[in-house]
């Protein structure tokens, strides 16, 4: 319904998605030309002109994809604000689950944002090199990123038009908390604790690996850091749902990750998930840098960029670590050491 769109954050999300997609479509036309005609060794008028055009378009794409990353936050923000308009929906979970498309727009936004981070890393490397030797590859990569961005726009538009603000939504307590409690409850209590501490340990290892990479960039260190970054994200997400969130809510049965975005949870979800996403995606982008090392033919530049990426990713994981520990430590302090789950905590 068109009236669905008259919500500020949703409107902002859609307008942002449309602008980003429009720029990406323009870039894809240039990408076709680059694919067909870009020959770095030539000095013909066509080649030199294409280099200038590609550089200009890549600058615009850089801005667009930067916005596309921000669209992930806008998607969640829009859904969270819509929860006030939908009966029964206490948070973004209720809004997503009230719609036939469910969490698809969140998934496409996350996937598109990740692809954008990887492309932007490749773009930064191309810009750092003396000449546009990675430009062709960069524009070829747009044929992967572009469709993801367009898919995200489609999913978000379809979801927005399909929203029914008159529906009574299912609250996160009624579904995710029940499902989560069943999932985690079926496992031994120690399983949750183990998962939590495994996530913390992996975060710490990721920080160490990134620090080592920052001090001395290299292939083995980059791959190690990237693997640990991916593992950190994989372990942190269920650990946050199963252990961190309940401690933040001081309620062993409340597992919803979306409620962490609210003021009563100190809005901890924003920096927590934001830092985790940034650190994880930058960690994965190290793979992109290493995969281009030979073609870049400039170890110093690749290593310098790896060091910068490692520094930011390291900071992101440190923030994630602190924000995973904070709710547990806070609860321990408030409760005088009493375990939240009724057993050894």
């Amino acid at each position: 319904m068109l009236t669905n769109l008259l919500r500020p954050f949703l409107l902002a999300r859609l307008l942002s998605g449309i602008s980003v997609s429009a720029l990406v479509v323009v870039a894809l036309f240039v990408a076709v030309r680059v694919l067909r005609r870009f020959r770095l060794g030539e000095t013909s008028e066509g080649q030199l002109l294409l280099e200038r055009r590609a550089e200009l378009v890549a600058t615009l794409v850089q801005a667009a994809l930067g916005m596309a990353i921000f669209n992930l936050a806008l998607t969640v923000l829009a859904a969270d604000h819509l929860s006030q308009a939908i009966r029964g929906a206490m948070c973004a979970y209720g809004v997503f689950s009230s719609n036939d498309l469910g969490f698809l727009p969140l998934g496409t936004s996350a996937l598109a944002a990740l692809a954008c981070v990887l492309w932007l890393t490749l773009h930064r490397l191309d810009l750092a090199l003396p000449d546009p030797r990675l430009t062709r590859r960069k524009f070829i990569a747009l044929f992967i990123v572009g469709p993801l961005v367009l898919l995200d726009l489609w999913a978000t538009l379809a979801w927005a038009f399909d929203l029914d603000l008159g529906v009574v939504a299912t609250c996160c307590s009624a579904s995710i908390d029940q499902a989560g409690t069943q999932t985690f409850g079926a496992a031994p209590m120690g399983g949750r604790v183990t998962l939590y501490y495994a996530a913390l340990a992996t975060l710490a290892l990721a920080v160490l690996a990134l620090f080592a990479l920052y001090r001395r960039p290299g292939r083995v260190r980059a791959w190690t850091a990237a693997a640990l970054a991916a593992l950190s994200v994989a372990l942190c997400l269920p650990a946050i749902v199963g252990y961190v969130a309940p401690h933040m809510y001081e309620n062993p049965r409340h597992l919803c990750p979306f409620c962490l975005l609210h003021a009563d949870a100190l809005g901890i979800g924003w920096p927590l998930f934001g830092a985790l996403f940034l650190a994880g995606s930058l960690g994965l982008s190290l793979v992109v840098l290493e995969s281009q090392r030979r073609r870049a033919a400039d170890d110093a530049i690749v290593s310098a960029l790896e060091a910068r990426v490692a520094k930011v990713a390291m900071l992101g994981f440190v923030i994630t670590f602190v924000l995973c520990v904070f709710p547990v430590a806070r609860y321990a302090w408030i409760s005088g050491g009493a375990p939240l789950f009724g057993g050894p905590g």
Binding site: T43, E45, L48, P130, D131
Partner: protein, 237 residues
């Protein structure tokens, strides 16, 4: 010795410091296209004094700009010390120019209101400004060009010849191996023009590669010039 775009100048000579290969520079002028430089191939060796001579509008300044990486050709290749500049990213090209090339522009581009010494030290600004040794070096340059006693004088109070020599001194403060000068003897009397030519010869003898674009026959016909290239309508004659 005059240049010719059909002569056997090797564009890939190992001693080449500056080179262009089949460069064109075209500008749009309304519906028409103007060819400022048309198919020039040139290779200039190390420690040489080269003069580009031709009437106004011949394309000398444009070719000079392409040789120094300031102007990108529409097509063709331009090389500074063996490095092709046409594909370089802007910041890399700027860094290359900053270390390799000194420019003295036709309008001198001295900053009014600043002293001669301040103007000479200006190229050091991107590096964070002048250190003590830079000031010493700048003063040595001014002394070389007979301008030390004018160091604290504002440039608008200098004569034409003094400003010209000051502009050349400025091109040398970063100690580039290549000097490009556009109309270095313009509006100068014979005595001052001769002093400029003497200075250029000295710089060549110091191992620098000097290229001067001029319509002044005095410079082109000086016997100490290694190469005099005539340019007309964008082409080397």
């Amino acid at each position: 010795m005059s240049g010719d775009d059909e002569r056997t100048e090797s564009p890939e000579s190992t001693d080449e410091v500056l080179g262009v290969s089949e460069v064109f520079k075209r500008y749009r002028d309304g519906d028409a296209t103007v060819e400022a430089v048309a198919g020039v191939t040139l290779s200039l060796p190390r420690a040489s004094l080269n003069v580009l001579v031709g009437p106004s509008g011949a394309g000398k300044t444009t070719l000079l700009g392409m040789l120094g990486g300031l102007v990108l050709p529409t097509s063709g290749d331009a090389r500074i010390d063996g490095v092709s500049v046409v594909h370089l990213r802007d910041h890399h090209r700027t860094a290359l120019r900053r270390t390799k090339v000194g420019f003295a522009f036709q309008d001198l581009a001295l900053i009014q209101g600043m002293t001669l010494l301040e103007n000479v030290l200006l190229p050091l600004t991107p590096r964070g400004g002048a250190r003590k040794e830079d000031v010493t070096r700048a003063e040595a340059l001014l002394e070389r060009f007979g301008l030390l006693d004018k160091r604290d004088r504002r440039v608008e109070r200098l004569s034409g010849g003094e400003r010209q020599r000051g502009a050349i001194a400025r091109t040398l403060v970063l100690e580039p191996p290549i000097l490009l000068l556009d109309e270095p003897t313009a509006h100068l009397d014979s005595e001052n023009a001769a002093a400029i030519v003497d200075a250029l010869v000295e710089l060549r003898d110091d191992g620098k590669t000097v290229v001067a674009a001029t319509h002044d026959a005095r410079l082109a016909e000086d016997g100490r010039v290694d190469r005099s290239l005539t340019m007309r309508d964008g082409r080397l004659c």
